[in-house]
Every structure is written in structure tokens, then in C-alpha cells.
């Protein structure tokens, strides 16, 4: 890696109780790439993103962003949590959720300016959700919910985006839209780090891959690390039936709609 890394993770260990979620992880990520974080269920992918974002505090080790402490560069980093993490029956509109992306710049005690409103409008337009601005969030489909989360991250106007399973349980139109959007963002010089579980699309989506299974299995350019041996190490014996499993995963991740 010739250029300075955008994210550094050193000796990172996270324990939940006595069970390790991540064990001694160490890697660096390059700038201006689309980076996939992959591994089987429960391999610590979300925990890794949360540790980088300071949502989970590490048991040992540390992470750096832009070669600095996260607190000094938070304004450059946008985080898209897992869609299932929040209550979509919350009485709030699409607009209010995307407006949260501006709280950081404007502070919690100042009114949003017309500039903020333009940015929110623009962000909604980028994900084709402007027509839904006044809609209550409980009326959205899974794909629309994901677009709202993306719009909120875009409204933060960061340079580095960490996204937790943005493709889980979304419709094909949304998946294609997100992919096109990611490409535009990459062309605009942004760095995208994406937790993903579908091996079939990994090669076409990502420039760089981090393969996890509680420990780090591999981290490097996709064409170097997307090999049978590394995938077997990551997914274990399950690789032989990997297509079956990824099908099953997809079924499992299918959003359960409460009505």
C-alpha cells in the first residue's frame, strides 16, 4: 500500500462477555475504493464497523481514521447502521430522519439553515426518495428504508462511508440504484466500506476485500484475496455448499414485516 491508509485497525479485540466477537484484528484500508467486509454470520463484521465508529468500545487494540483519532475527523465519516437496528414504526417522517444527517454540522441547538434544507433535498433526490419526504417511515418498504438511511449519510457530506449490510433485504431496483450511487461516489473521490454477505456479487462490487471470521483471514485487492483457499478459510467447510448457504442467508435476512 503506497498511499497513506484511510482506516487503520491494530490488534483490535472485542469481547461480548467472555465470547470474542473480534480477535486481534490488524489491517489497513486504502483511500478512494469500494471495500467489502465479508464473512459468515456472527463473524464480527458489524462489530468491526461499530468499533471503527466508536459505537462499541474495544477490549484491546485501537483504530485510526485518516491517521487521527476518530473524534478529530468525525465530520468526514458517515455511518449507515443496519436497517434492522432501529424501530421503523417510530412516528417520524423521511425528512426528519435525513435531517439528522445535518445535526452534526449544525449542532443540536441551532435551527437548520436553508443551506441544510437544500442538502437534505439534494440527498433525497440522489436516492430517488424526494417524493416521499413527508411520508411516515413506517409506510416504507425495506428498499425505501435503506435509501432513507443512505440519504441521511449523504447529507452528512463526509468523505468516508461505513455501511452495514446496505443490500440486505432490498429489492433489485434498490440494489441497482445503490450500486450506481456507490460508483458515482467513488468517482467523486469518496471511500466506501461495506459489510456484505453475498459472495456472488462480491467480485463485481468491490475493489478491495476484508475477510473475517472473528479473526482476520485476509485483507487486500479483490483479485488477490478472492481465492478458493482464502474463502475456504473464511467460511470453513461450508464453502462446499456455499451457494446453498448464501441462498439460505438471503432467505433469513428477508425482512420480517410486522403488520
Amino acid at each position: 500500500m503506497s498511499k497513506s491508509p484511510i482506516i487503520e485497525v491494530h490488534n483490535l479485540t472485542v469481547l461480548y462477555g467472555r465470547k470474542p466477537a473480534l480477535w486481534n484484528i490488524d489491517f489497513e484500508l486504502p483511500e478512494k475504493k469500494v471495500i467489502g467486509i465479508m464473512g459468515p454470520n456472527g463473524s464480527g463484521k458489524s462489530t468491526l464497523l461499530k468499533s471503527i465508529m466508536g459505537v462499541v468500545s474495544p477490549t484491546s487494540g485501537f483504530t485510526k481514521v485518516y491517521d487521527q483519532e476518530l473524534d478529530d475527523v468525525r465530520y468526514k465519516v458517515s455511518y449507515v447502521p443496519q436497517r434492522q437496528d432501529i424501530d421503523w414504526d417510530f412516528p417520524a417522517s423521511v425528512w426528519e430522519i435525513v435531517a439528522m444527517g445535518r445535526y452534526q454540522k449544525r449542532g443540536l441547538f441551532k435551527k437548520l439553515t436553508s443551506e441544510d434544507k437544500d442538502i437534505i433535498t439534494d440527498s433525497l433526490e440522489k436516492v430517488n426518495m424526494l417524493g416521499f419526504a413527508k411520508r411516515q417511515i413506517s409506510q416504507l418498504s425495506g428498499g425505501q428504508q435503506q435509501r432513507v438511511f443512505l440519504a441521511r449519510a449523504i447529507a452528512q457530506q463526509g468523505d468516508l462511508f461505513l455501511m452495514d449490510e446496505p443490500f440486505a433485504g432490498v429489492d433489485i431496483a434498490t440494489e441497482e440504484m445503490i450500486i450506481a450511487l456507490l460508483k458515482d461516489m467513488k468517482d467523486a473521490g469518496k471511500t466506501l466500506v461495506i459489510v456484505h454477505h453475498d459472495l456472488h456479487t462480491a467480485q463485481s462490487y468491490f475493489d478491495h476485500l476484508v475477510l473475517l471470521n472473528t479473526r482476520l483471514i485476509a485483507s487486500g485487492p479483490t483479485n488477490e484475496v478472492f481465492t478458493d483457499k482464502i474463502l475456504t478459510d473464511t467460511y470453513g467447510g461450508r464453502l462446499t455448499t456455499i451457494s446453498k448457504i448464501s441462498q439460505e442467508l438471503e432467505n433469513k435476512e428477508f425482512p420480517i414485516r410486522h403488520k
Binding site: G17, M53, V55, D85, I86, F90, A92, L108, F109, Q136
Partner: protein, 286 residues
């Protein structure tokens, strides 16, 4: 005037509880309000014992401190002992409440505190302690404390709306943008503590919980906007206070009991009506 005094006092409790309860309901932690409203007992007694009076201020401070102690205990049991939050709540508040009961039964023989009034309040008697305001117009002493707390809470919710909103809706995202999630948690808990402490003296622990959970839950069914939910919850709380009072007067039963029942009934009626409307809407749109 007696009718007005009681309804006015109950309505203030309703507004205070609705404001705090709306956030608790959306955070799925209403039972923390339950816990605090019981856990304040030892603080109240110790403050009474040390200051030797039932004057409000030391009691308020003592109660607020034990309320905060309860939230700290719950937090500690959940985070450090990795206990489920409902189990942590159950252990913390029954322990504190029991200590309070033991203290009262051992040392409180001549005290003005009794276990009945802790649970059921004494809203029927608010007009016995009146404070003249202007000329012949006076208000019950308890309602004045409640009014001050009400103004503080409205101020706090308006001032801290975005912080409370973002940490309630999506705490992980809030953390990732550098919002002090822990601060807002204790900010809310202090408000809940203050609310339950000043409310339970007049309406008792049971009605405090009914007010904390009922009107916000009803408002949640009726609104799609959190700001409206706050206002509607207050309005429903006031309505239930008035309706409950007149029912209690008519049937000659406990006011706190009647108000709690009205809240429960209104919830069931609204729930059934909104389900009917929703299923009709589904049929039309399908």
C-alpha cells in the same frame, strides 16, 4: 373549586408524565419510570428523618437522589453484570422500595408517611393545603410544585428536543456522529426522576406509571409525528384526569383508581378503533 383543584393537579401530573413518558415509550423503557417511582421511597424517608420535617425541598432532593441511584443501579446491573434490563429493573427497584418500607415501618411510627399514601396518593385532599396566589385566587400547594416542574420539563424538551429525538430514534447513529448519548440518557432520567417524585406525592406510584405509559401509548396509535405525539399525549392525559375525576365522584370511588381505569379503557377503545380504520384502509388500497 374543589373539583377544579383536583383536576388541575391531576392534569399537571398528566402533562409532566406525558412529556417524559413519550420518550420512555419510544425507548421501550417505561418500566424505568415504574422503578424510579418506587425507588424514591428510601430517599424520601431518609430526607424526612434527617430534616425532621415533611417540608418539600429536602424530601424532593432525597427522592431525586434515590431515583438517580435506581437508574445507576439498573445501568450497572445491565452493563456490568450483563443482566437483562427487565431483570435489572426488577431487582433494583424492589430492593430500594423494600428498604423504604422497612425504614418506614421501623422508624416511621409517628411520621406523616404511610405506605398507603405512597402507593395510592391523596389527590382527594389537595385542597386542604392551599396557597393564595392573587387576591382570593389560590392553588393547592402540591400543584404549585407540579407547575414549576412542568415549566422546567417543557423548557427541557424544547431545548433538548433534537438530542432526545436522535438518541431515542437511533442511538448508534447518534454515537457515530459524536452525540453524547450517555448525557442525554441521564438528562431524560433526571426528568423522569423529578416527574415521578413530585407526582407520586399527589397521585401515588400506580397512577404515575399509568400516566407515564398510557397517554403516550394512546398518542402513539393516533399520530405519525413525534412532536404531535407529545402534544396529543398531554391532551389525552388531561382528558383522562377530568373524566376519571367525575367518574370517581359519581361512583364515590378512589380518584387515582378511576383515572387509571379511564386511561386503560381509552387505550383499548382507541386501539380497536384504529385497527378497524387501518384494516378498512388496507381493503380500499388493495
Amino acid at each position: 373549586m374543589n373539583d377544579f383543584y383536583i383536576i388541575f393537579t391531576a392534569s399537571l401530573v398528566a402533562i409532566n408524565c406525558a412529556l417524559m413518558g413519550s420518550f420512555l415509550v419510544m425507548r421501550k423503557m417505561v418500566m424505568i419510570g415504574d422503578a424510579i417511582s418506587h425507588a424514591v421511597l428510601p430517599g424520601i424517608f431518609i430526607a424526612y428523618y434527617l430534616s425532621g420535617s415533611t417540608a418539600s425541598l429536602p424530601i424532593l432532593i432525597g427522592a431525586a437522589l434515590s431515583g438517580i441511584l435506581a437508574t445507576l443501579m439498573i445501568e450497572w446491573f445491565t452493563k456490568k453484570a450483563r443482566l437483562q434490563s427487565d431483570a435489572a429493573i426488577g431487582i433494583s427497584y424492589t430492593l430500594l422500595f423494600a428498604i423504604g418500607i422497612i425504614l418506614i415501618s421501623k422508624f416511621g411510627a409517628n411520621a406523616d408517611l404511610d405506605q398507603q399514601c405512597v402507593l395510592y396518593g391523596e389527590i382527594e385532599y389537595v385542597s386542604l393545603w392551599l396557597q393564595p396566589i392573587i387576591g382570593s385566587f389560590s392553588l393547592p400547594k402540591q400543584s404549585i410544585t407540579l407547575l414549576i416542574v412542568c415549566i422546567i420539563l417543557i423548557g427541557a424538551v424544547v431545548w433538548g428536543y433534537k438530542g432526545l429525538f436522535i438518541t431515542t430514534f437511533d442511538p448508534n447513529f447518534a454515537l457515530s456522529t459524536g452525540v453524547a448519548v450517555t448525557f442525554w440518557h441521564y438528562f431524560l432520567m433526571s426528568g423522569v426522576s423529578l416527574t415521578t417524585v413530585v407526582s407520586f406525592e399527589s397521585v401515588g406510584a400506580i397512577l404515575v406509571i399509568a400516566f407515564l405509559s398510557g397517554p403516550p401509548a394512546i398518542a402513539y396509535l393516533l399520530t405519525e409525528d413525534f412532536k404531535k405525539m407529545l402534544v396529543v399525549a398531554c391532551a389525552i392525559g388531561i382528558f383522562c384526569s377530568a373524566a376519571g375525576y367525575y367518574i370517581a365522584k359519581w361512583l364515590d370511588v378512589s380518584v387515582a383508581g378511576a383515572i387509571s381505569s379511564v386511561i386503560g379503557l381509552v387505550f383499548i377503545i382507541v386501539f380497536v378503533l384504529t385497527s378497524v380504520v387501518k384494516s378498512k384502509a388496507d381493503v380500499i388500497s388493495a
